[in-house]
Symmetry: C2
Subunit: 188 residues, 2 copies
DNA sequence: AGAATAAGTCAACATGACTGACGTATCGCA
DNA sequence: TGCGATACGTCAGTCATGTTGACTTATTCT
């Protein structure tokens, strides 16, 4: 059995540090989702509804298949939550202009309200954590999470934020009204 | 509708930065659990089994009620996975010495093997992310996640790691064999 | 014209959470 | 000493969210 105590042992420290990272992820993620979950349960929705609402709000006019790529769930799973969101007037579908087979998804007024209400609790949590940890810590936080996630997902996240915070956008061309072609942002 | 493009607008940046944090959490957590999930599904287990095995391995001799506090699930939910782990020989129960009502949980040899196999994929993921991000980034990562999680959970995580990495332990007394009294570590 | 693509739908199933109720053994205190 | 509190186990039912597999319809592309 391994010696679990020797504080000077670098292997022990490494093991402890890695486990600490694992545990921080577990506990932080649970806390991160707890408030939205509570609000959602009051109106008979679950976490899956939040995810759909969040990304439809994030990429207005997103298609079903693009949303499926982001969420990595099956069409049937998405269908269940989406049909509820449509029925209850949080989301609307319109046909694609170029491709009439596509259904473009957009939040309604009340959809935006709900999204705002849900995401705001998470934004506030992050804002507080960022404030108390400092700007340098935020950069470190992002660097580590970026190293953990799937590179394809990272691509998608970074597309929307300028790398140096001085106005230089990556795909600033070929956009017309503040919302670009979604296919570019989502990535296949 | 809000102007989503003006790169010089500080409010836009703040909003974007916060959303980026939210998305990093979503994507990173999914990736973080994907490998263990894959392994578990091969042997007919799920994520809940990993969580139980992980924390029993982390706190050998932990009681049922302490485990419930950590996992924040109901006794009935834990019971299902735990009875499978007991039946299939990954975990053993012994009666508490001081309090005979308690069932102390410990991993068996094969339980430790499985835990090692599952957690190792996560450790490697963290090790790679830590390596590429650097030590300072790791400190930032931890600071931000610590700010997001429940303070009670943070307490529990920090109890096991010396604050300055030089061997000073918080509760280095009253331990006998490298494993302290669990009640202290778990926290109520 | 026919294959490929986007989306919708039906059915069945697994997992992991929940509530509520009740039983048993043990501990601790008045 | 006896009784309430505690630790654990269990039965039963429900719900949310994921899965696989099969099939349909409308539209686009070659």
């Amino acid at each position: 059995m391994v010696d679990l105590k020797s504080g000077a042992n670098p292997l022990f420290l490494r093991e402890e540090e890695l486990r600490r990272g694992i545990e921080l992820m577990f506990y932080a993620y649970r806390e991160f989702t707890s408030e939205p979950d509570r609000i959602l349960s009051e109106i008979g929705f679950g976490r899956a509804h939040h995810r759909a609402i969040y990304f439809i709000g994030r990429y207005p006019g997103i298609t079903i298949s693009e949303l499926l790529v982001i969420l990595r769930i099956t069409k049937q799973s998405l269908s269940r939550v989406l049909s509820q969101l449509l029925e209850q007037g949080y989301v609307v579908q319109t046909r694609g202009l170029r491709d009439q087979r596509q259904r473009l998804l957009t939040l309604t007024e009340s959809g935006r309200d709900l999204e705002e209400r849900l995401t705001d609790t998470q934004r506030q949590r992050f804002a507080a954590a960022y404030r108390s940890a400092g700007a340098e810590a935020v950069a470190g936080f992002r660097a580590v999470l970026a190293g953990i996630m799937d590179p394809a997902d990272l691509e998608r996240v970074e597309r929307l934020l300028p790398s140096p915070p001085d106005g230089k956008r990556r795909d600033a061309d070929e956009e017309d009204s503040g919302r670009g072609k979604l296919a570019d942002k989502v990535g296949r």
